[in-house]
Symmetry: D2
Subunit: 217 residues, 4 copies
């Protein structure tokens, strides 16, 4: 069997849970076609996050790595197009690191593009009634750091396709945040099943008059 490694962060920023991991952990052992899912919780800490995913990948030898993080405030599933070689943390990570305008990898390329089929994924999600789009920024915090680091690792290995997806707040997280969008864990679970299906079946999902992004995002 082939393997899809899906990772989710532990909580950060004062939130009691991280919806990424809440949803991801339910997928452990899930199978679709010739593929099985392995999951891994990732610390929201510079370097250590990347090292944790690398160690898991060395263990399970995945064909695909999908890292999942939380983007509070976004209403849709956002599949990231690109990670940039920049750590500029607005707040300290869970290890107390707060780099300002430092590279993720010294002498690394300025950016990595996701090698997962991001538009196929968005199209398939739309066909399943799940709001999703391509995003052109994963920020400059640990999410971007992890995506850059994992894409760098995958580029070195050569036979792994990698990418990153942001999910919204869960409903319970916005009870005390007026006017913030959220997404139910059931919808996030359906998102992960859909993506596993796309990766394991390799079909091309046709867009249906769909906007991938807004003009300036």
């Amino acid at each position: 069997m082939k393997t899809i490694l899906i990772t989710g962060f532990d909580p950060f920023g004062g939130e009691p849970i991280n919806p990424a991991w809440e949803a991801v952990k339910t997928m452990d052992g899930y199978t679709d076609g010739d593929y099985k899912v392995v999951t891994q919780m990732v610390p929201t800490i510079r370097y250590k996050s990347v090292d944790t995913v690398k160690a898991a990948a060395e263990q399970c030898q995945p064909d695909f790595i999908l890292c999942v993080g939380q983007a509070g405030g976004r209403p849709d599933i956002t599949v990231e197009r690109v990670a940039i070689n920049c750590d500029d943390f607005r707040i300290p990570d869970n290890g107390g690191n707060q780099p300002e305008d430092e590279p993720v990898v010294a002498d690394g390329p300025s950016a990595y593009f996701a090698t997962l089929p991001i538009k196929n994924i968005v199209n398939a999600l739309h066909q399943n009634g799940i709001p999703a789009k391509v995003s052109n920024t994963a920020g400059t915090f640990v999410c971007n750091h992890l995506m850059y680091g994992v894409c760098h690792y995958a580029a070195q290995k050569g036979n792994i396709k990698a990418g990153f997806m942001h999910i919204p707040y869960l409903p319970s997280q916005v009870v005390d945040k007026p006017n913030q969008p959220s997404m139910a864990v059931e919808t996030v679970r359906a998102t992960l099943e859909t993506i596993v299906h796309v990766l394991s079946h390799g079909k091309s999902y046709e867009a249906q008059n769909i906007t991938y992004t807004t003009p300036h995002e």
Copy 2:
């Protein structure tokens, strides 16, 4: 047994479904304590909407009437505080009516306040992890029209408490609407169960440092 009448609109504005009715219809026959739920689909048509709810109420003799409508663009459950005596339709209703600045009820009072325990409802929803707030406007379309008309009827009857709740788009409705918030049908169902519990048990739910509304809403 006592009765809670819950109503939901049929689709309007080009949407193929109305999430209000999709969620409401699943509650028919639901019971909690001494209360049972009766549901009624309501046409998105001036006057006819009110007449439909009145006819259902004459039939089932409810203690409470909760009307449910869709407010596309709102991220939270919004429990309406007030309905105003004004029909000012931005688009025609499903019957082709498009009144401009006309009263709902000639010589009616300028507004009706909901008689359901709206803050108890919001507090109970928060305690169940569901984003919700009190809203101070139900607009001037059929939602406000229905709320006004049903409150007018309830005021005349004297023994019915009535109110209105708006729910967000369903996820499938925003696939082609970038950056719009949505709420899963599972969450709306949990909302309805919570409200039935509040109405049937009459408890006072304490607010937990919660904002009911934003300053100017």
Copy 3:
């Protein structure tokens, strides 16, 4: 000469200035046709706000009263349609009052509709390139309180038309509030001149395929 009384609040909620008064005060003595403008600063305090406007009105005997307040978060000029008989303050006013679900005027009507020509005003603003719409809620804080109280006074006097307008944050107010809309004081000033022109000339401004409100506002 006839008189238009325009009022603006002093600062509240920790803001160092209130853009309403910053813009309003520049209009004192402004004339257009047979009309001159008198301005009045209003304390952001329950009752005292209404009493201040009444005293100014007794002094200047206006034909029109336009009260102006700040609605942080709104991107457009919003001309209020209705004030409701409800004081439900999310935060204390500048006098420390924080009523919860109390009437503005005991035994007053449940709501007052603005008697200013609100759609003419919105149309004229649009023709001058100023984003504006009709709003269906002035909230339940001092803004709504003042609008209700002034409309109540105007109804008793019989020969005064009254209304309320919300303006956005000024740009300087959102420097530390990421992603909040704002409006330059120059644009607010142009708004006030346009409204004075509408009130003093009494023309009917035709809408140009314009949406006054969104469906559920």
Copy 4:
């Protein structure tokens, strides 16, 4: 005298004007310290946009190039951090080009970071009461294309610092777009003067507890 080249796009996407150029053109010949401003209108067309800026730069030999574009929907001035090597046009440009996932420059680096002092600029804008932040994406349309192409040119020349800034809609552009933020041309003009001051004086502007970006942008 030294030179700052500031460019603005001509209109696109059905808009009758482009606020970028409306504001930029007023700066032609403006001086501050040892610097004078040269302005250039740029066609919203793939390649031709970059060639136009290159030709202007060969003519005026600037020390700094600041390209300005419109990002409808953003409420703040957004100073771009990075341009990516990807043309993925949601709509055709003014020349009818609509590339999908093509590089801006074949075999170019995956991204260029702005070499203008973007945080100094944001800090100085804040100190002048202008809402601004660093943005981590210029999209994948002509704005990103131009920023990438100009940064590529500047990197080849070696002695030019380059960057890109997005400005919001003008107020007149959102009259028929409910709930869209805008910024007055006076504020955009003040923005440009502030940036010219930063570039010509080279001071370091200290941040004042300011958020440059939101976590996931």
